[in-house]
Every structure is written in structure tokens, then in C-alpha cells.
């Protein structure tokens, strides 16, 4: 088991390096001169030269690459070109909001998706099943930014039940702020997780050990939850992991719609202002999260599937 964990961890190293390399290349081939972008069209050649020297843009490419990777690994993301703030501090301020949004959205999404899936699977081809499938279809079809705007207009603007923008202060206020955006993201999650739960449960229900459970006298709830859902968790774990990643990237649009702080919002404004240092830092942080979530999924597999535990 320790071996398995070490292997997973070792797997993450090349992934991280690859991500950093891709970010590095992407930043170099972006159109436009970062010096001109930072200083504006009116800058004199001398000013540009000083800027390039200061930012290390005149060094040979391999030197830049090594400096870049080293900087990223030591969390030295540089300073924002726009307001001279440390990128690390900008990220440090915004990241908790994104994490908070993702966690609440996932809790809502998984918490409603799994029961919906169970309901559909146990009432296969009946009204409840059709209703859940209809809901799933809707969840897939409605774009989250549109749904977000709809919820915002209805519950915040018209009914005044929720704040219109911002991230909030203190736990309760923050939860109040995060609720609508989280519901928006959760709807898509619930549609996906519900569908996935239904499919995996139905597959598990056809297995021989379910018949065994019934043959030894287990009643339906026990058959469904202890034997069925417990086994359906294996494919569900993968789905929930992927869904978490999708939520993370989905938060970009949602943070914009609800005008709340977060990495997504930070990234969008950095892109529109060509703030290379912030873009770079934000993208790397996003990528790190993907790697981290994958690692966590591997951990969950160990808990869920005894076959991995023993190998």
C-alpha cells in the first residue's frame, strides 16, 4: 500500500514538470511583447530594454526556463505587472474563495446527485426514473453562466434573498455569499453524478453477489446500500474526481457572473490586462490543483477498493 502511494506520488512529478514546461512555452509564444504590454505603446526603447533586463527576458531561453521552473517550485511567482503586488499574495487572497465555492458546490452536487441516482435506479423505467433523467438532461443542457445569471436575477435582484456580489466576511456571511454560485455549479454536478450513480448502480444490481445478498435474506435497503451502492462507489469515485476538476474550471465563469473574488476572476482580469506574471501563477496553481485532486482520488480508491489496498 505504501508502495502504491509512493508510485502515485512519483507519477505526479513528471506531470508537474510537464505542466510547468507547457505553461513556459505558452507564455513565450503568446503574441505581443510582454515589455510593451507592461509599459504601454508610449514606452521608449531604453525603458523597454531596462524592463526586459529586469524581468530576465534577455537571458538565453534555457536560463529562463530553469529560472522559471525553480521560481514556480519555490512559489516565487513574481510580482503583478499591473499593481506591483506579489502574485503569491494575490493568489493567497483569492484562492480560499475558489476552494470554498468548489467544496460547497461539490457537497451540494454529490449530496443530491447520489440520492437522485439511487432513486432512479431503484425505480427503473418508472415515473421517478424519468423525472431524474429529465432533470439530468436539463442539467447538462443549461449553460452554468446562464443559470447563474437567472438565479442571480431571481433570488438576489428581485427577491433580495442573497447578496449580489462579493465574497463576504466571516463564516456565515461567506456561506450566504457562496450559496447561489454553488447551487449553480451543483446543478450540473447533480445531473452528472445522478446519471452516473444510476448507471453504475444498475450495472451492480445485475451482478451475482447482489443475488447472493438477496438469497441470504437481506432486505432491499440493505441490498441497495450495503451491497449495491458500496460497489457502485468504485466508478463513482472517478466520476466525482473528474467532476471536482470540472467544478474548479467551471468556477471561472461563475465567479465572473456573481462578481465574487477567486482564482478564476483573477485569471480573467489578468488576461484582459495581459498581466503575464499573474496569468502564469494562476495557471500553474490551477494545474497544481488538478494534480492534487488526482492524488486525492488515488487515496480514495485505496479506501473504497480493497483490491488495491492489498496489492
Amino acid at each position: 500500500m505504501a508502495r502504491y502511494l509512493l508510485l502515485r506520488l512519483a507519477d505526479a512529478v513528471p506531470t508537474v514538470l510537464l505542466v510547468l514546461t507547457l505553461v513556459f512555452i505558452a507564455m513565450r509564444i503568446l503574441p505581443g511583447d510582454p515589455a510593451i504590454a507592461a509599459l504601454g505603446d508610449m514606452a521608449t526603447p531604453e525603458q523597454l530594454e531596462i524592463f526586459r533586463e529586469r524581468m530576465g527576458l534577455n537571458a538565453p531561453l534555457w536560463q529562463q526556463y530553469i529560472d522559471f521552473v525553480w521560481g514556480m517550485l519555490t512559489l516565487d511567482f513574481g510580482t503583478s505587472l499591473m499593481n506591483n503586488q506579489s502574485v503569491l499574495r494575490l493568489i493567497g487572497y483569492n484562492l480560499p474563495y475558489t476552494i470554498e465555492l468548489t467544496i460547497v458546490a461539490m457537497i451540494l452536487g454529490v449530496g443530491s446527485g447520489i440520492p437522485l441516482g439511487v432513486l432512479a435506479a431503484t425505480h427503473r423505467n418508472k415515473a421517478a426514473d424519468s423525472a431524474v433523467r429529465g432533470f439530468s438532461l436539463l442539467g447538462y443542457a443549461v449553460p452554468d453562466f446562464y443559470l447563474g445569471a437567472l438565479l442571480l436575477i431571481t433570488f438576489s435582484l428581485n427577491l433580495g434573498l442573497f447578496p449580489i456580489n462579493g465574497g463576504g466576511e466571516g463564516f456565515l456571511d461567506r456561506m450566504h455569499h457562496v450559496f447561489l454560485p454553488a447551487v449553480t455549479l451543483a446543478l450540473v454536478k447533480a445531473a452528472f453524478i445522478g446519471r452516473l450513480t444510476r448507471t453504475s448502480l444498475l450495472e451492480v444490481f445485475g451482478k451475482d453477489y447482489i443475488r447472493t445478498a438477496r438469497a441470504k435474506g437481506a432486505r432491499e435497503p440493505r441490498v441497495i446500500y450495503r451491497h449495491g451502492l458500496r460497489n457502485a462507489l468504485l466508478p463513482l469515485t472517478t466520476g466525482i474526481g473528474l467532476s471536482t476538476l470540472a467544478t474548479l474550471s467551471g468556477s471561472v465563469a461563475i465567479e465572473l457572473v456573481f462578481n465574487r473574488p477567486g482564482i478564476g476572476k483573477l485569471l480573467i482580469s489578468a488576461i484582459s490586462e495581459r498581466d503575464y506574471a499573474v496569468i502564469q501563477g494562476g495557471v500553474v496553481i490551477f494545474a497544481m490543483f488538478v494534480v492534487l485532486i488526482n492524488l486525492m482520488m488515488d487515496l480514495v480508491y485505496i479506501v473504497v477498493d480493497p483490491r488495491i489496498r492489498v496489492q
Binding site: Y209, R211, T212, A213, R214, A215, H227, D305, R307
Partner: protein, 335 residues
């Protein structure tokens, strides 16, 4: 005569849409006495597994449903019990083991928990007592170091060991009847012999009645006293083991017996019954074996033969052999 432990009477099971059903089990009747052992033999698709699943009402509905008959257990018709009462019977009075030991155990539960669950569902016991019973059961079925294997998962066991675990689980609550649906088919021959030995031993020690489903007459002869031969969803012959092997009366049974390879065989090719089993429900009238029968007469095509008696312990559904036996009897009476 004593009241049988299990009495299946005129059972019929249909699958598919109600408007156009396929009858896969039709008019099946047999009995098992307490502590007795009966085998059902037949080819794939003969309805033997469906018959065995019907007893515990484990057929998934839809698409399947039991449309007629009675299944009396200790005098109670199980088919009339409310569905919610069935879990009380399953595992406690009637237990079942299945063909696929590799997939019949829950992969994410330990062996100990799975056997323990069977006990927990039916008997009030403390955790300690339950644990002791599980260890006892595992020892009984011949798992070495039972206490040490409680926390093992099914994937750590071989096929034969898993079937032993299945048997331990089935017998954990001392059921009166054990239904074994092809328990040794998926195992290789030496393991098969061990499992059959085990079933023998357990039958003697626990006095559990056994209903053994198999396509292998040899396996059934090993364990059972009586045999029910099924073909295309119907019982075609029913007899004690001795009569089946000595004087098989249905041409299908004769064919089955001829196709068993023997040690003193000098045949170049094994015998095979020509043709194949008709699709379930495709025979609407007449004897279902008509197409493949070497004795067939015109009557067989139009009229399904009833079960004729051949002596006190043997019945078979064949017009031809019944009339032959009849003639012999008359001849004997005349002399």
C-alpha cells in the same frame, strides 16, 4: 407418507411481455423430504435454474413472473406469502449457493463480514458469538486457519475456496433446505470432487435437505437419491437414482446417459443427441423432444404426453415407452 419438506406443484414461469410471453418453465412438479436430496438435471435452457430461483422467488420481475403453481415449504405456499416475508425465509429456512463462486461474493466485503451478515440477518447474537460461529462454519467447510482469514477479501481466495465460503455462508443459519445451482460447474475436477465430498459430509452432519441443480448426471448421482430430468421447461422423467441409470424410460434420459463417457468405452466418438434444445417457448403443442426423438410416433407431434408411472419410484412423460411398458405388463399378466 410424511409431508414433504418442499413440494413444487405445477409450477410455470414466464418471461417477456405479458401479451406475448415465453414460457420457460411449464408444469414442473417434484418433492423433497426433510433431509433428502433431489437433483434436477437438464441442458442449458431447460429451465432448471429458473425453477430453483423460483423457489426463493428470486426471479427478477420484470421480465420474469411465476404464473401458476404452488411451492409449498413445510405446508406453506411460498407463492402466497407477501413479498416482504420472503427475506425471513431466505437464508434461514432455505439457503442457496450459485454456479459462479468467482462473482457471487461481494468484492468489497470481507469473508467474515459476508458470512456474519447471513447470521446477523436471522439470529440475535452478540458480535463475539457471531464471530465464533463464522469461524466454526469456515472450519466446517475446510478453510485452513479460519480465524486468520476472517478479514480476507474474496479476491484473495481461489475458486474452490470461494465456493466453500459460499457453502459456509449458506449453512450458517442451519437451513432445512440447501439449493445448490450448479455448485461445481465452474470448478476443475479435483476441486469439484472436494466440494461434492463436503456437501456429502455436511448433509450427514447437519441433516440439511439438498436440491442440486446440474447438467451432469454423475454429479447428481454422487449426492442425490432422486433425479428430476428437465427438458425445454418440462419435467420429462422423475425417478430414484438407481432406476434412472438402470431403466431410463424417457428417450431424452436415455440419450443423456449414452452421452456420458465411460472408462470402459471403446466408442470412437461419444454419443450425441441429434439436433439441439428448442428455443424456450417455441414448442406450442406435442412433446418438446419430438424433433430429436428416435422413438417418435405421430401422436407425439400433437399431444404432450402426461407423466406415466413405471413402477413405484419412476415416472416419465413418453407415449411410446409407456405403451411398450404397458404391453409388457399385459404380456406378463397373460402368462
Amino acid at each position: 407418507m410424511t409431508v414433504p419438506l418442499l413440494k413444487v406443484d405445477n409450477l410455470a414461469v414466464e418471461f417477456g411481455p405479458k401479451a406475448n410471453p415465453i414460457r420457460v418453465v411449464d408444469g414442473v412438479s417434484f418433492e423433497i423430504t426433510a433431509g433428502g436430496a433431489v437433483g434436477i438435471v437438464g441442458e442449458s435452457g431447460s429451465g432448471k435454474s429458473i425453477t430453483s430461483l423460483s423457489i426463493l422467488r428470486l426471479i427478477s420481475e420484470p421480465p420474469g413472473r411465476i404464473v401458476q403453481g404452488r411451492i409449498e415449504f413445510n405446508g406453506v405456499n411460498l407463492l402466497e406469502l407477501p413479498r416482504s416475508k420472503m427475506p425471513d425465509i431466505r437464508g434461514r429456512d432455505i439457503a442457496m449457493i450459485f454456479q459462479e463462486p468467482m462473482s457471487s461474493l461481494n468484492p468489497v466485503m470481507t469473508i467474515g463480514d459476508q458470512i456474519g451478515e447471513a447470521i446477523k440477518l436471522h439470529e440475535a447474537m452478540t458480535g463475539e458469538e457471531r464471530r465464533a460461529r463464522v469461524i466454526e462454519m469456515l472450519r466446517l467447510v475446510g478453510i485452513p486457519d479460519p480465524a486468520g482469514r476472517l478479514d480476507a477479501y474474496p479476491h484473495q481466495f481461489s475458486g474452490g475456496m470461494r465456493q466453500r465460503v459460499m457453502i459456509a455462508m449458506a449453512l450458517a443459519c442451519n437451513p432445512k433446505l440447501l439449493i445448490a445451482d450448479e455448485p461445481t460447474t465452474a470448478l476443475d475436477v479435483t476441486i469439484q470432487a472436494q466440494v461434492l465430498d463436503l456437501m456429502h459430509k455436511l448433509r450427514r452432519t447437519l441433516n440439511t435437505a439438498v436440491l442440486l441443480i446440474s447438467h451432469d448426471l454423475g454429479v447428481i448421482a454422487d449426492v442425490c437419491e432422486r433425479v428430476v430430468v428437465m427438458y425445454a421447461g418440462r419435467v420429462v422423467e422423475e425417478a430414484d437414482i438407481r432406476s434412472i441409470f438402470r431403466t431410463p424410460q424417457h428417450p431424452y434420459t436415455r440419450g443423456l446417459l449414452q452421452s456420458i463417457p465411460r472408462l470402459d468405452d471403446d466408442r470412437d466418438r461419444l454419443y450425441q443427441i441429434p439436433g439441439s434444445v428448442p428455443l424456450a417457448g417455441s414448442v406450442k403443442k406435442g412433446c418438446p423432444f419430438y424433433e430429436r426423438c428416435s422413438l417418435r410416433i405421430e401422436k407425439c407431434m400433437n399431444k404432450m404426453p402426461p407423466m406415466f408411472s413405471f413402477g413405484p419410484d419412476q415416472r416419465a412423460a413418453c407415449w411410446v415407452t409407456a405403451s411398450q411398458a404397458d404391453a409388457k405388463e399385459k404380456e406378463a399378466a397373460l402368462q
